[in-house]
């Protein structure tokens, strides 16, 4: 199987789906001539021309709003927000328009919109450029939220998003763009809402998504050296999320650790934990452990920033606590 990067995987999904469906258009800041600030849209302008691939002004609210209108008008816009941080500028269009319109108009407004946005911390970009916005989106009925952790999922899930009835928020992690992995050349879309067990284990379940899946995997390797079998579940999709897969695993291991990059308050880990408590409380041998980002804006200094983002060692420590070690 060919090995490609996460960046190339996203790019391939765009290429293939645009060839398949001429209603897909791609636009955003510097996506066409500059080929994306992370070079994810490389080659698209050349291949599909300026009617389908075009640069926009720095106008995030209007980028999203235009995508909504284009979708209502029969297209399948795949807009890029240069980074997730700028989605804040467009939140009214995303949360108050895109998310609610199908419902508000009695199911008549089809909105096959995909919003791609890279995000996440770890590059010393400071408080305004290091956000992980998944919680804001996941909180909102009407949106689907995908968070691929691997190149294969980046491709499979983006294909799924581009064929979905939408709207879909597609969160790419800046720290993963150079990650290489095996990706089938011919690939069917992945199934939205399905988690994946990346590593089986019997002692503790570690749930992650996006970059945190890799912290979970690294933690599992640390724990293996201590004879602890950690089962790693990659959620892949945050809304809907695969409750059944998580509950099934925790019912077997009786212990759970949930890892997330943003701050803990009302977060993804809290949501997963409460579902475990509500459904399989009696199966638990220890409280669910949450490993979250610091409850503070992201600092610039490298040491402070590193201390704000969950590391494999933090995840392993949480697993040890769950195991009473």
């Amino acid at each position: 199987m060919p090995k490609i990067t996460y960046r190339e995987a996203v790019n391939q999904a765009l290429f293939e789906e645009m060839h398949r469906d001429s209603s897909i258009i791609v636009f955003g800041e510097d996506v066409a001539e500059y080929e994306g600030s992370f070079k994810v849209t490389r080659g698209l302008l050349k291949e599909f021309g300026p009617e389908r691939v075009f640069d926009t002004p720095i106008s995030e609210a209007a980028i999203v709003g235009t995508a909504i209108g284009a979708a209502l008008g029969g297209l399948r816009p795949a807009a890029e927000l240069m980074t997730v941080n700028f989605a804040y500028v467009a939140m009214d269009q995303i949360l108050n328009h895109l998310a609610v319109m199908r419902y508000m108009f009695g199911g008549q407004a089809a909105l096959p919109v995909t919003l791609r946005m890279p995000g996440g911390g770890g590059h010393q970009l400071g408080a305004q450029h290091s956000h992980s916005l998944e919680v804001h989106f996941v909180h909102t009925p009407g949106l689907k939220v995908l968070c691929p952790a691997t190149p294969a999922d980046a491709k499979g899930l983006l294909k799924a998003a581009l064929r979905d009835a939408g709207p879909v928020i597609f969160l790419e992690h800046e720290g993963l763009y150079n990650l290489a992995g095996e990706v089938p050349a011919e690939m069917e879309p992945a199934r939205i809402g399905e988690a994946q067990v990346l590593r089986p284990g019997r002692d503790v379940t570690v749930v992650g998504y996006g970059a945190m899946t890799h912290a979970a995997l690294a933690a599992a390797a640390l724990l293996e050296a201590e004879n602890v079998g950690a089962e790693v579940i990659d959620l892949r999709s945050l809304r809907p999320w695969d409750k059944a897969a998580v509950l099934e695993s925790v019912a077997r291991t009786h212990r759970a650790v949930v890892v997330e990059e943003p701050p803990p308050v009302c977060g993804i880990a809290a949501e997963v934990a409460v579902n475990i408590y509500e459904n399989i409380f009696d199966e638990l041998d220890a409280p669910v452990e949450r490993v979250s980002g610091a409850d503070a804006p992201m600092p610039y200094a490298k040491n402070l920033e590193q201390a704000c983002i969950p590391r494999a060692e933090d995840v392993a420590a949480a697993a040890r606590r769950a195991l009473g070690r």
Binding site: E29, D30, E33, Y34, S37, D55, T56, P57, I58, S59, A61, A62, N85, F86, Y88, V89, H123, Q124, L125, G126, A127, Q128, H129, A294, D295, A296, P297, P299, Y300, A301, K302, N303, L304, Q306, A307, C308
Partner: protein, 318 residues
Amino acid sequence: MKKSELLHAYYLMRLARGFEARVAEQYLKGRIGGFCHLYSGEEAVAVGAMWHLRKEDYVIGSYRDHAYYLIRGGDPRRAMAELFGHEDGCCKGKGGSMHLFDRGINFLGGYAIVAGMCPIAAGLAKAAAYRKEDRVVVCFFGDGATNQGVYHEALNMASLYKLPVVWVCENNYYAIGTSVPRSSARESLAAKATAYDMPVSTVDGMDFLKMQSAAGRAVAAARAGKGPSFIEAKCYRYRGHSMSDPGTYRSKEEVEYWKSRDPLPHLKRIIQDDFEAGEEEFAAIDARVARELDEAVRFAEAGRELPPEKRLEDVYAE
């Protein structure tokens, strides 16, 4: 203008230019991280725009902020330390290159969300007006910012309430890789601002004297309670958008053309033409700048980061 004043303007531009050269060096050594945007080429804009300000006036701007901070009178040592992420940086290392800030000099921040600071500038001016303080606000932003909704909202409100703001648009022709004609329906950004019924001007931002004279009118109008003005400063950034942008979308000829109009030798020539000014006077300025920048780098090298537990401080007041 007096010779000493012109020499001071020259010094400020040199300082800003020299600082960016040191920053680039340190960035490549890996001592500075994150996004780092240099002001090289645009010095006449900031020095000119701030020329008529008094201590109590406010300055606010974008992430391309090292020059604003230094020209406003900031300590180069504390700026460099901030870029190193150190505790004795002007924001304790929590802000970084894009987020300098210093209350002591009324530089109220570099902001990394394009146009995010525009309404904040209007709010500062509102506070000054309400408190009957004699303060003017100078707000710096790029051509790209004029395509943001909040920019238009802020210009409208400032004009509506006749707030003492000087809007300084650094039109360096590009927002990362997108040129003005490819992003703004109205290519003249001054014309675009006329919608808000305030005085606008388009100025050669490579020329300190022209910049300061336009700023003089705008600052005087703001002080006189006549409300905001808009200055479109045509300028150029010599480097890529940030340290991580190779800037391949601009031709070599274009960059060379702008470098041939460099504001530093231009001002030097004016000083030499109008006054007796020997090379040694400029050499003395260069030497002073080099000394101050050596000192800034040494200071930063000697510092350290905050201990990690301090990451949770400053979120709230207590």
